[in-house]
Symmetry: D4
Subunit: 252 residues, 8 copies
């Protein structure tokens, strides 16, 4: 039940068109039933400030196209993550004005909003962390923010990070993507005052244990104020950056 | 080498008081040697926007008092976390105008800055999560932000969370502290658009495995945009909230 | 807002005592605000068929007494789990008609409902599993069901289980508590048709790893239809047994 | 030795046709030897109320067909889980009146029993949890119960669960299938009084660790009375639901 | 039902004293009910060749004394493991002819059988593995076998193991107790042809993770034919050695 | 240096053909250098009673054929484990009188020794445990012992195990192969007095975690005297059975 | 800024060609900005004594060729690890004087330096550890050291290790590569005084858990003075050996 | 058998005093028996360049004093690690010229050798890593090397590490002790060419999991050439440093 529908119902009760008992029947199923809305994704956006995003992996091309078409029809825009080339081709065939970034595995149509004028630095520690960093970057751009990509910044050559200090200092949020030892976010958080979103990646080998090693490193980082998201979750980092930037925009 | 010292050195070279080789000798050890500064903590604050904070656990009362006195002498303020009552007593004996919050295990003197006018909601899922939530709250307040405490909000009784929706919606950042299944941040992030900082706690039993269960839940949360910090790390959550609020204050 | 309060409101609208807009104001905050109720525990009972239960561990005696007194005042009955002798003594001093079962660590006052006439068999594999089994048994009895205790039934002496087959076959639900290898639920589920609730315990040593070994055994049990609950969670087993028995009682 | 065979033997002894010693020879091997029966699966059904079910994975098509033909010949019905399309084709070629549900990977012939008139709600949190949910649903239907499928109910959009509250409340058992953070069963168990069977799935990524994250979440769920089964074990959930419904049917 | 009881019953049937139906009634409950015997421990011994042994840990002194007295009354002998000094004192007060070996934490009365004339070598890698090795040795002796103790045999000084080669070669079974890297069983199994029973211990530190490291080492040992038992399970090693020696004694 | 070579050397010294210093030169490199022998595998056999066995996995067909030919030339017999069909074909092409057992993945030529007249029971819990059980059986037979295969003995239908009790009781060693919950060895060890060698398998799914679940179950088994070997290690079980049988044969 | 560039700048200041302020502008960005150099890898070499090495895995052939060409152009030499045959072919097509060692998966051009005259023993425990050992050996040779390969040295046949004692004693560093139980480094470290670099491998099966078992064994090794590197990290072992040899060469 | 004893034996054979068979009897037990030496610890030193060291933990004061007295009597020196104050007092009472360093928990008498003139830098990341760092430092000094202590060098304030670059560059080996995220060794190994010995500590909290987090970080460190030792193993780091320095001293 939308709020206008509720008001109409109550007016019906006041007008005697609907009995209190009948109205009770409809309202009493609250808080559960009246939450039902036809356009769930719009609701999510209203509540959480983020649109529903399509996770392509595990969906057939057919299912994917149908879902994406529905969302474009509804909102004029969509973001699809973890899209393999074949899936992207199917999407682009159906929705010609979409675009695909293969390294990021992101397919999108339209944009979420007008440019925010805010800037997110996306750092990646090694070349193998690049796809996750690109997912973070592409999603951040789709959400309306500017991205500064800073690549190949390893802790073993700490100068490369220090070298980018000016770029880093201009950023409102730093997203730091790193596998293996995952030490880069600690270093970055020691250098800049902005929020640091750390993304562990699973691309290492040996005692990386599918990303467990960088995950634990980031959680136990000695520099306070690091936000950790799930392993390989570039989109999650973008979503968190968006929340951070939205809260500050919304404030007086 | 501070920047004013460097300028003075270069002027000496220009004036012929110092030979290029002697100056080279001093500067060339950069970037390593010239970083040497007497007041490291001030530097950290300049760089990362956060003061150095004292972790009391594992320090003797004596060590603690000496460190804290030095920091108060330097900056007029200090924040001490994980302070047991005996340590707090020793600190208060030495620095009479400090104050101790026993549930939060936080001892502090002064404040980090003027009130920011920003608001952080601190939610805790169960009564046993309370000490960690209080640490987050006390540290956030010391950093200059207003705190709205929302306690005992379990997912099994999801209405309690929904019930606080108005408080939640007024917050710029939500810190959500939860042990056992750690599902509360997911629910909160689905309801509000602000950044959600999730703190797993180790207080559960059985398959909680010292906080591993809520940690994994929070990392794999279905609601995008959740920032996870280390298990039981209330101060880390406050530091992250502070970074988030600072970045937005600093923006035009 | 309770349902009777809602009906009264709607009648006020119909009667013209309350304007549609004022009523809308109150109802529209649904589903969030109107969920607010003074008596949360009653709500939980309405929704989930289970009363709120007090977990004593980690609460001070004072806190415990205050919570329990409030719940007894409200509902005339209460169940407290993980109560150490000192806590039980404090509770019994405040509420004289409570009773304490030390092996089960359960303190209770009153009963949840009239006897259901249903029967729950509680099996324990070793003497060290006894406290968890007793917690399950005491909670089940408080919830209104009959309990048949079958103790010291190890798989290594499988006859002991077989020997109790008649008792087992009379049960509506079998709760099976086992540490170490946790093989007993598999055997029981192969012998009887009723639902088997398996409770792993942490009391083993060596490669039991705080209950992980029996937990995994129970989850991978070869006999289908075993319900696993958390390690050492005797109350959880009782709550599940209660749900199972309630669903069947409630059916036509 | 079947019970009728035993009675016949004893009558032979009474009639003097068999000497006590010869009878002793045959009976004394009990409880071990006399358990030998030609039709093992019927025995299992008698004991546990559940027929033996064929797990197709790891069996050659040939083996599978031979086993299934034997079971159909014996009982006129069979349930095969984890059947890939090729295996299903081989089965359908041999037993034409079988039917295959590809999403559920379930092949079956006949039904286990007459309709029970009981209802099981099968909820799935995400589209990738769908195959496991379908396995649970198909097996439940084969066992004779009605299934209400409630799909795509994420905790991040908690309204979708609330929205289905009426369907949920009509169910005798709720099977909840969820990967990633596995928080849905907690929410459901807080809303309805019926037993909740939680099935973690391995389909997540990152810190899901092949289903470990939702498994731990479900085990440590704050709502009491949740039954957890093995990761991806849709059939196990159906078997447990069947045991629950059978116990209540069987009761006076 | 013991076998003599069964024969008596059948003779009653033959004599007409018991009707076939009444006999059926009693026998038909087999294999389940008729297994019921008053003297369970005797049965276990008959079946598995090992008497029931008392695990003292977690039992009150009172419980312990009662159990042990009953077993001594029945069989004239008993073995108690994991007995702390206080428990041993209580036992010795009640049963004066028992004896206690404090390092092994073993209290015993009588012996299981006559000397077997077989020999078990018990090797321990470090001094901290000594208590577990002593438990293995004391239990082996109680079971009737000769024990050769070979202490402080580290792999880092492999000569110490080689040095004992003559003792080792005289043994029928080698029990090897080792913590930390757990490499000793591999070396021993490469030197002698007898069965090697490997016991990991939890006494290490760091990456030993409560015995996990030596456990994995022993399981993956490059020398084939190593039998691994549970961490710290000295009695289990003795029981396995006893089974090994019994099978060979029993053979023609 | 073989023992006969050593004796010859000493005789040379006694005869004055070799000076003490020259002999010292050759012997003094002991224990290190003089251990060097051309025929390492014969040595292993002398020491450990087990021949060197070829693990085919990870070796090219070429390498495999060369190694196996050398071993057959030396000893007239060889055992190859983990042989895929292609490798077996290559071996059989080179050594025509070898034979291959595809389910066991074992290729062999000749036999290790004359029949021992001892009997090993090999039990498998499920059909998917069959390949590991066959490896154990084939290796045991090659080592000279009789094998009694007992298949498809699940704990959920405990009668199947009981049913085979006579076969079991005739065995000198029982090898029990089980995945998933791994409970079968516990049951078997409770029924028979002979040594039980437990082999966990990795074939399960869900919370089996590649064999971790049955491994932990077997290690923590309530029945004492179970020997655990590595996951899927059928050959290791056979080698252990051989050691057990050899020790008893060798004894007076 | 390279050091020569800095000296030039200072001379410009002394000569009056550059004002102190302009020079300050350039230098003051230190320690961060001035670290920026065009030839990063040379810097790493200066600092850490090791050149940047290319990890081929996860890079496209194209990317790989471009990176390697740049490095050869710069330094006249390069080392590429984890190169599959196709990648090696692409590299050799572009840079004809490179060479590829397929077992080691190492492609290289040139050498890092003149022969050091130092010797590294590379031991491998099993044939499946061979590729990792070859990577260690090939990288060590490229770094300028002599390698003594000692293969197939299992702990179960400890003589093979002892047999190589003379070779081992001539080595300055021993690199020991072992999977499964990982016990070889312990034995080697007990025999020789040189540093032992232990490399666990993931090639085992069962409870090796992708190299976790040998990793833990090596970390908890009873012989002190063992250096552990990451699982399968042959290059890491070579780099550590190089550091060890360099420190000793550099000392007076 | 010592080498001089062997020569004497051979001379006896040459002289006819000992028959070849009697000599064979004595020598043939080689390589095993003749390794037997009275003074095992001297042997270890000869072989591995390191004396046997006493690990006090888990030993009674009595045992400790007896062992230490024997070692001092034999060699005039001893090193005892993990000594608690009470144990140290007992040792000092018995051996007055010993000395105790309480923070390092190290008690020692004498020195291992003359000063080597080599220098080991011991860095610790946090104050809680101090005891482990002190153990490493005290043991290194006892072994004859100079120690440069560099304390409180966190990665979050990377300048503190950079600041010590001159000290670091003078060291022959760097021992880096760090808990929590364990990132310091990576940074150090990127700055200096000497071998870096990384020691993870267990002193962290939360997702440090008793040192697992820094251990994994160090193993997966992006800077090549880091040697990892066991968690909290300060002595192990000293032993490795000693091996490294010895190999270089021993080289021509």
């Amino acid at each position: 039940m939308r709020r206008d529908q509720l008001l109409e119902l109550l007016r019906g009760v006041a007008a005697g068109d609907i009995s209190p008992d009948a109205a009770h029947e409809r309202v009493a199923r609250l808080p559960y039933l009246d939450l039902g809305v036809a356009r769930l994704d719009l609701d999510r956006e209203l509540r959480s400030g983020l649109p529903e995003v399509v996770f392509a992996q595990g969906k057939s091309d057919d299912e994917l196209v149908r879902i994406v078409e529905a969302m474009v029809a509804d909102a004029g825009r969509v973001l699809v993550t973890r899209a393999e080339p074949a899936a992207a081709e199917a999407l682009s065939a159906a929705i010609p004005d979409g675009c695909f970034e293969p390294r990021a595995r992101v397919w999108s149509a339209g944009r979420f909003g007008p440019p925010s004028g805010r800037r997110v630095a996306v750092l990646s520690a090694g070349t193998s962390d690049f796809p996750v960093a690109e997912e973070a970057a592409a999603c951040t751009e789709w959400l309306g923010h500017e991205v500064e990509r800073i690549r190949d910044v390893g802790v073993a050559g700490i100068q490369r990070a220090l070298d980018s200090i000016d770029s880093l200092r201009r950023a409102d949020v730093a997203v730091v993507v790193a596998g293996m030892d995952g030490a880069l976010p600690t270093v970055v958080a020691g250098l800049v005052p902005c929020p640091v979103v750390a993304v562990p990646t699973s691309v290492g080998y040996g005692a990386s244990f599918e990303g467990l090693a960088p995950l634990l490193t980031m959680l136990t980082a000695c520099a306070p104020g690091i936000a950790v998201v799930n392993i390989d979750n570039g989109f999650g980092a973008a979503a968190l950056a968006h929340r951070i930037l939205s809260t500050s925009i919304a404030s007086p």
